[in-house]
C-alpha cells in the first residue's frame, strides 16, 4: 500500500534511463559476476590450471546441466533436513523465549543452556547421532540443524519479546488485558519481526549444518554426500557442480526467509 502511493516517481525515473527499476539494480552485480567468470575461464585456459586445483566454469556448467536432476534431488534431501530442523527448532525456541520473557526463573534456567548450545561443536556431535539413530536415518542430521539454529532464533525472539513499549504496557493495563491475551495481542506481534530476523540469520546456518553433517556418515542422499563422493572419485568439475547446487539451496533459504522478514516487518518497528 505504501509503495504504491509513496513512490509514484520511481518508474518515471527508471523510464527516463530506459530500464525497469528491478533490472537497473540487478545489473551492476550481474556484470561483475559475468566479468569474474570470464576472467576465471581465461585464467584456467591460459595458465593451464589442472582440474583438481580449479576446473573451468564452462566445465562446471556442463556438469551442472548434465547432472541437474541428481543435483535437484540431492538439494531437496539436504533442504528437507535443513527445513525440518529449522522449523522444529524455531517453534521450540519461540515457545521457550515466551516462557523466559514471562518468568525470570525460566530465564535463569535457560540462560546457561543457551550458552552451552551456542558452543556445541556440530561436527563433533554428528557421528554420535549416527550411532544413536542408525546410519540409515536422517534424524541425526535434523537434530544437528536444530541445535545450530536454536540460539539465533531464541536470542532474537527473546530480544523482540522485550521490546513492548511503555505506552503499550499502559494500554494493556488500562484495558485490563492480562496473561496469555496480552502475550497474543501485543507481546508476540511486537516480537515477530525480531523472530523473523533470527530465522533469516539461522537459515544459512541450517543449510550449512545439514550439509556438514553429511560429511560424517549416514545415508548418501544429500548434496554434502554427493560432493564427497564426486571429489573422492576425482570428478572435480562434478564436485563443483554440486557445490553450485549447495550455493543455490542456501540462497533459496536466505531469500525466502528474507522475504518473510520483509512481509512481517511492514508497518512495525524492526531490529
Amino acid at each position: 500500500m505504501t509503495a504504491a502511493t509513496a513512490v509514484p516517481s520511481a518508474p518515471v525515473v527508471a523510464r527516463r534511463r530506459g530500464l525497469p527499476p528491478a533490472l537497473a539494480s540487478a545489473l551492476p552485480p550481474l556484470v561483475l559476476v559475468v566479468v569474474a567468470l570470464l576472467l576465471w575461464e581465461l585464467a584456467v585456459r591460459a595458465l593451464e590450471i589442472p582440474a583438481f586445483l580449479l576446473p573451468a566454469p564452462s566445465a562446471i556448467g556442463a556438469e551442472f546441466a548434465r547432472l541437474t536432476p541428481q543435483i535437484v534431488e540431492a538439494s531437496v534431501a539436504t533442504g528437507t533436513n535443513a527445513l525440518l530442523g529449522l522449523v522444529i527448532s524455531a517453534v521450540v525456541a519461540v515457545l521457550l523465549a515466551i516462557a523466559a520473557s514471562g518468568a525470570r526463573v525460566v530465564d535463569g534456567m535457560l540462560a546457561p543452556v543457551v550458552v552451552a548450545l551456542a558452543v556445541v561443536p556440530i561436527a563433533a556431535v554428528a557421528p554420535v547421532f549416527y550411532i544413536m539413530f542408525g546410519s540409515s536415518s536422517e534424524t541425526g542430521r535434523v537434530i544437528v540443524v536444530a541445535i545450530a539454529v536454536f540460539v539465533p532464533v531464541f536470542v532474537n525472539a527473546l530480544r523482540g519479546l522485550r521490546q513492548v513499549s511503555p505506552v503499550h504496557r499502559e494500554l494493556l493495563r488500562a484495558l485490563n488485558i492480562t496473561g496469555w491475551r496480552a502475550v497474543r495481542t501485543v507481546t508476540v506481534p511486537t516480537a515477530l519481526p525480531f523472530v523473523f530476523t533470527g530465522l533469516r540469520q539461522a537459515s544459512s546456518l541450517a543449510v550449512i549444518s545439514a550439509l556438514v553433517s553429511e560429511y560424517f556418515g549416514g545415508p548418501k542422499t544429500g548434496i554434502g554426500s554427493q560432493i564427497t563422493t564426486a571429489a573422492s572419485g576425482s570428478n572435480y568439475a562434478q564436485a563443483w557442480a554440486f557445490v553450485l547446487g549447495a550455493i543455490v539451496t542456501g540462497l533459496a533459504f536466505y531469500l525466502v526467509t528474507l522475504a518473510l522478514e520483509r512481509v512481517v516487518s511492514r508497518h512495525r518497528p524492526s531490529p
Binding site: 500500500m1 505504501t2 491475551r181 511492514r266 508497518h267
Partner: protein, 282 residues
C-alpha cells in the same frame, strides 16, 4: 467570575466520578546524589459525574502523573484515589474509564479500524455490532477514508484521532485524556472539541482533560485546575461561568465570558492578580 482556592466540598462522594484525596507521588532518584522528584504533593481534586475538568500547568508539573493515578497505571505514595466510589484499581478492572494517552499508543500492526475495535474485542458486550460501532467511531473522528490504513501511514494528528476514537469505544462514564488535541491543526482541533462536548453531553461522561492551551481549557471545561511544578500541586481551581450557555456552540468562543475565563486562567498560571488572594506560591 468566581475564583476559588480549592475544590468545592461535596458530601455525597458516591456520585462523584473522581475523588483524589491528598495524593503525593515521589519518584525516587535512580542515581545517587540526584534529588527525588516530587511529582505530586498533597493534591486533592473532585470531578463530579458528567463534569468536564481540565488540568493545565507548565511542562513537568505532574499532569500526566495525576491522570495516571486516576487510571490506576501508577499508585500514590500517600493519599487515596477513588473512581465512582470504588478504588481506582476496581474501576480499572471494571473498565469504568476510557483513556487517550499523550502519545497515541496505537498498535502498529493493526489497521485504524482494528485499533479502534481493540477495547470492544477485549471486553465483548452482548448484542453489540462491533463492526457498526467501529464505523460510527471512525466517522466521528473524520477518518472515514482511512479505516484500512496502518498507523505508520497516518499523520500524528490522525493517529491521535484514532486514539480518541479508541478511548470512546465503550462509551465510558469517565474519559481521561492527556493532551489529545496537541497534534491537531486549529480547524480539526475546534471541530474535535465541539464533537467531544457533544459526546459528553450525550453520554453524560465526566472528563479529566490535560491541555497546554488556555482557550481550549476554558472552552471545554466546567472547571480548570491550574497546577504548579516542583512540587506538583494544585495552585488554583478556576470555575467557568457557562451556566445557560449552549455547551460546545462556537458562539461561546466569541463570548465576553469566554475572554474573562481566559484572562482568569492566564493570571492564575502566571501568578498574576490571584497572588494576593491567599494562594500558596512556592
Amino acid at each position: 467570575m468566581t475564583i476559588i482556592i480549592d475544590t468545592p466540598e461535596r458530601l455525597d462522594t458516591t456520585t462523584d466520578a473522581v475523588s483524589v484525596d491528598g495524593v503525593t507521588r515521589i519518584f525516587s532518584a535512580r542515581k545517587r546524589g540526584a534529588a527525588d522528584v516530587v511529582a505530586l504533593s498533597d493534591v486533592s481534586l473532585t470531578v463530579h459525574a458528567g463534569e468536564f475538568v481540565s488540568l493545565i500547568g507548565p511542562s513537568g508539573c505532574g499532569k500526566s502523573t495525576l491522570l495516571r493515578q486516576i487510571a490506576d497505571l501508577d499508585q500514590p505514595d500517600a493519599g487515596s484515589v477513588s473512581v465512582f466510589g470504588k478504588t481506582a484499581r476496581r474501576a480499572r478492572l471494571d473498565q469504568d474509564y476510557g483513556i487517550a494517552f499523550q502519545q497515541a499508543g496505537l498498535l502498529p500492526w493493526r489497521t485504524v479500524s482494528q485499533n479502534i475495535a481493540l477495547p470492544l474485542q477485549m471486553h465483548r458486550e452482548r448484542g453489540l455490532d462491533v463492526a457498526a460501532r467501529v464505523r460510527e467511531l471512525i466517522e466521528l473522528v473524520g477518518l472515514g477514508d482511512f479505516a484500512d490504513r496502518y498507523p505508520d501511514q497516518l499523520s500524528g494528528g490522525m493517529q491521535q484521532r484514532v486514539a480518541i476514537a479508541r478511548s470512546l469505544a465503550r462509551n465510558p462514564k469517565l474519559l481521561l485524556m492527556d493532551e489529545p488535541f496537541g497534534a491537531l491543526d486549529e480547524m480539526t482541533r475546534e471541530r474535535m472539541q465541539s464533537e467531544l462536548l457533544r459526546i459528553c453531553g450525550e453520554t453524560g461522561a465526566a472528563v479529566v482533560f490535560v491541555t497546554h492551551s488556555i482557550p481550549e481549557a476554558v472552552f471545554l471545561s466546567h472547571r480548570v485546575v491550574v497546577m504548579s511544578p516542583r512540587p506538583g500541586r494544585v495552585k488554583e481551581v478556576v470555575v467557568m461561568e457557562r451556566a445557560g450557555a449552549p455547551v460546545g456552540s462556537d458562539a461561546v468562543r466569541d463570548d465576553a465570558a469566554f475572554f474573562r475565563g481566559v484572562t482568569a486562567v492566564r493570571e492564575a498560571l502566571h501568578d498574576g492578580a490571584a497572588a494576593g488572594q491567599g494562594v500558596e506560591n512556592r
